[in-house]
Subunit: 394 residues, 4 copies
């Protein structure tokens, strides 16, 4: 059971774990905790030993909601000591706006204006904490922003409240001079029956309505896209294409269209994880790779690190090797090039509109029957990529 | 079996039918046509008699792809005569970029630049035809823009080609002086395994990347949203909220997360159709209401009009009555008001960011426990809306 | 906000609530309890006052897993006193084989034989408790019987262990002379990634492998069927058709293919609830109608009864009125009869196989073209049923 | 692009292709044929050259519905000549009860008794044809047996008609002395909104209601299970466990909960295909392995064989190699054994019920806390199986 990769090899990537992920004790809607867990500082030490570079946290993952100042100082002291010892950082901070019952009908979008105000208060404090800990990314996952009963709130009202809250907080961050980027995380449902901003597409659109869109990006999560049955590679590509995926992404696993499973990255869908890693390589992504997953309930406290945390990182690294092979596989590259062969002159005609271009385009003798006769060897390429994935082209 | 509403009552709405909808002869992946169908001009006459206001069409719904000029003139003559006779218009035009095998790997996003050029050619002609017929809306449904094999094309390449095509065509329309708005229609899959721009959110984001976003809106379709398991009311609300749903929408029915069913509007999901109509009423929507559905294969040629087409319109009108009742139901209105009670002063604090506002917000004595104790009568409201829907509050 | 029906009217039905349903305090995977809840005996009193006839329970809903004998006696005393006071009964009992971490990899199907033995021990005690309380139905919901990792256990091993456990317990019940019927409840996933016996069909098949199939029925649940995207009316009909739905059924609501929502019966899908009630009426079902749902997290402790519990019952009763209307609607009945017109002689030929029947069948001059020309007014019937549902045919 | 396996290696397996699979010309609900296709005899020759052992067919795949006797003889002659030449057989036959519009509301379950009679007529002829061609398996896929409108037919009526039809045909086959096994193929939806017998579980239950259950098995299909979001390995395991999967199975690929995609086996879900092949190996399955898939619309006529048909077989063979590795991997085997360690004495106690066994079981000192402390290395096993799949444990 020796590991495939060393801590040093893992350390070369920007691997991050949420405190809540290795901290998950296996509680679920139908069952109690199945393991004990460890205090935050211990999680840092275990992760550091394995080769992770960073942790992420919600305010209350570290500091309980009603901790005294002394308790706060104590926890922070231990935590930052462990971080320094492991040469790790806090990559991302967030605010828990979902656990307390005050958020049972939303936080930024709650119909009750006092709840919205409380959500702002709490978030400003969480931003301050994040800044204090050096986090350069602040994530918004609006798990309670949604509805079960469409009669009870106009969703447009919800969007508007959401927009105002993010606008307010952007200005707060600028005002404080924090070097912080926001990242919005979509999810279609659970814990609400329908969550606002259900997809990466919706978040990308939402960002364009903000006062400071340049401060706000996407935090896409594999499982959340699959919960809508969509193709995560396509969704994330759109974020990359709109230059909104530079700082943070959540990696995990999920069977499509089920409850939120947050499986270990790579454990369920080799094609999906291969293209995910390929996308990061192709776009030279340098943001955090946050494994937002949790171990199975059958996994022990030590297994959480030895098998689960290490497994996430190694599954990523195995796929990265496959991506390098893909780029060097002559036959695969030839097929890809053949399928995607361009035509510079024709492209130029389509790129820059002019009346003249219209005229030329109209005159082009393009016979659909003849065009359709061209063979497209996509099926052959598909076969070879599977062989590569299975280690049959080494 | 007498109808609930008269043609005159239906005529008061902007009801539109695609030629392909009443023209659907029941062919499906596993079966042949189950009825004969009627020529386009007959469809117009039947729809006019029932009270529809407009038809919509793809170029090839009316003019076969290789019709001669004479055949074209002939068909157009008959068709426009019937329209005039029925006092109907062409509300929307579109271009069929999916049927011919030349589009088997995409049209605007095909990897083959010649296919992309052919798609532009064909679409310019379809736009000209639409303009000639007086259509003020031109819809883009990119049914073939997508993939089965993610290895074969970089989706970002696809998005970029898509963007260039729409940019080109926007300029074409402006150049020709056509009074035409574009509307993009999302769909998550079928006939491709994954279609680009799968959701309304993705389309709204895409529009912001265009050179002329002001010319482009959303054409949301009930079934397509449900094929991704999302809440169509929420999705459409976002389009309304971003002012991108003014000219056209597709109404139909669909069981979530199945093959594209295109059922009769209102036939499957009373809550969904109620909130859809309520949204249109609340936003004073004045664009086309296009029933993009088709009759069951068991329905006869006459049933297509008598039961299917009339049914779509009447289901809409029944829901419109329910919406009026909702607005007048004292108890429902009181519950809604109680749940959504605002706080002008507090709202003002959150609306306009300032350092002072931050200070005041921070100081507000908001106790989450106390806020959480407030009763929210959402469940009671839910009960009453069901009673209203079932006709038990008349 | 006065109720549609009186407690007396509700009492005429066999309405049952699980202690865990009205006892649900709104805890979910992402949030704490949102209300306080009431002790079991109080739940009984509240339910009785509303007109419910019975409660259902898991052993640990009533008696905590490590209660002393004295605590047990105390709780039972209060509980049975309240039942008597309200003239209510315990309709169904069950055993909690999912909450404790010992069941994290299954109970009857756990790979560890000691866990399987413990599950049998615990279930025998729960059966004894059920018998003591007069429950005539004992339900098996195998929430933990399943897997996340298919490599870790052969599912056939799981089925075999499951079969042996039910066989053992059937014999135990017979041996004790308890007048008790078992009912197996399917679910496709959650809390396990894949649960064994995921559908009503799978349970019906499983029952036929048992030593005492005559003692075992189905406990179908709306939400669980919809979590597999199936038609609950069809699934339940199969159970009725195989005479395996006589004693118990779970009614609730659910958006298809999402996390387990357990919404109020009737609150989400009027067509689904109409056909559910119609099926019960048509089959003269006299078993328990168990509302296995929970109130929204936004609902208060009093709202749980006033709006949620009453709502379940009233939604059922509203649908029952619609079913009566359906049976009396001349036009609907005529359409149904026309569509389903039989042919006694022809049927007889198909019912009893003989060489002679084969000969006659072969000779029958059946022209598919002519048969296909017959009009089927299914679309018209569909319209009228919607009108009926919406109260437009009163 | 040379192949991984030789025709001889493929020939060692019982690989079968439906005539309709390689014969698929790429027609879909939104598009015309994208390739020409080949006559049946040519398909046989191409498949034979690649190493397939058998073909499967519906009556009308070979003989058009209104062929003359002369045409029939002609087609049969060419076809059987090619089979002999290639040393291939017809593994399975079926009857097309879905294409003609006469079946628009069902075949065996149509409300119209004349349609049911016609379905029996047609099926008897198809059985005769299958017998003539030597097919030992006859498959029933009830694609049109279902509904869009639940008001129009009682599903129990549908089940009853279905049962009678299969009973009739079982007796017919016995009477004719054909050495033929029936296999029923489930599907949840498409082309009907809801199809009766939607899952393997439902079919297994249905079979137990028949007069000759010993003649009837399951024909499970990967895509059909995934269209209900279920785990195909679990579903098929239940069929094996009930001894109902000995003669035929359909292998392909499918993204869960979408339109029927029928992708190439192994092309989409490496874990799924690995466990499928492992199951066949473990159960020493000797029935037909029917690739019920079709090539992408982008694939040419030659690509259908070179890339698609060969790909199906090679993907199976690659997985078979992995299964052998799994069985020989010491660490994987040790982990599996540790997780599944039995206890003969304890098992014996649970296997044979007796009052004494109950007594002993009751007395067993089983402490759930202690049992729950045992480590289960399922997560470690999961990691190693992924490594094996990716070729990292060679």
């Amino acid at each position: 059971m020796s590991s495939l990769y060393t801590p040093q090899q893992r350390r070369a990537e920007r691997f991050e774990f949420g405190l809540w992920t290795v901290g998950n004790v296996g509680r679920d809607p139908f069952g109690e905790a199945s393991r004990e867990g460890m205090p935050p500082w211990r999680r840092v030490e275990e992760l550091g030993a394995l080769g992770a570079s960073a942790v992420a946290l919600h305010d209350n993952d570290l500091i309980p909601m009603n901790a005294t100042q002394a308790e706060r100082d104590d926890i922070l002291g231990q935590f930052t000591t462990s971080l320094r010892k492991q040469d790790m950082v806090v990559g991302m901070a967030s605010c828990n706006l979902f656990y307390h019952r005050v958020f049972r009908d939303g936080a930024f979008t709650a119909s009750d204006p006092k709840v919205r105000a409380f959500a702002l208060q709490k978030t400003m404090k969480a931003i301050d904490l994040g800044a204090e800990l050096g986090a350069k990314v602040f994530v918004f996952w609006g798990g309670r922003e949604g509805a079960e009963v469409d009669a009870a709130r106009d969703p447009a009202q919800g969007f508007e409240h959401y927009r105002k809250a993010i606008n307010f907080l952007c200005k707060y961050v600028k005002d404080q001079g924090y070097p912080m980027t926001f990242a919005i995380e979509p999810k279609p449902n659970e814990p609400r029956s329908d969550i606002y901003l259900p997809t990466i597409g919706a978040c990308l659109a939402f960002i364009t309505t903000l006062d400071h869109p340049e401060m706000v990006e996407i935090n896409g999560e594999t499982a959340h896209t699959k919960m809508a049955g969509l193709n995560h590679y396509h969704e994330m590509k759109m974020a990359f294409w709109m230059n909104k995926c530079n700082v943070h992404q959540d990696l995990n696993g999920q069977k499509p269209l089920r409850y939120d499973q947050d499986f270990k990255f790579g454990s369920d869908d080799p094609f999906g994880s291969f293209f995910h890693v390929k996308m990061n390589v192709d776009h030279e992504y340098t943001g955090w790779l946050n494994f937002d997953a949790h171990a199975h309930r059958t996994t022990s406290d030590m297994g959480v690190y030895r098998d689960f945390a290490a497994g996430n990182m190694d599954n990523y690294l195995m796929m990265k090797e496959k991506v390098a092979q893909f780029d060097e596989d002559r036959s695969i590259q030839d097929l890809y090039a053949e399928i995607n062969a361009g035509d510079v002159k024709l492209q130029a005609l389509m790129d820059a509109y002019s009346a003249a271009a219209v005229g030329k385009l109209r005159e082009l003798p393009l016979d659909p029957e003849k065009l359709a006769d061209r063979e497209l060897k996509i099926e052959a390429l598909e076969n070879q990529v599977l062989q590569l994935l299975l280690g049959k082209r080494d």
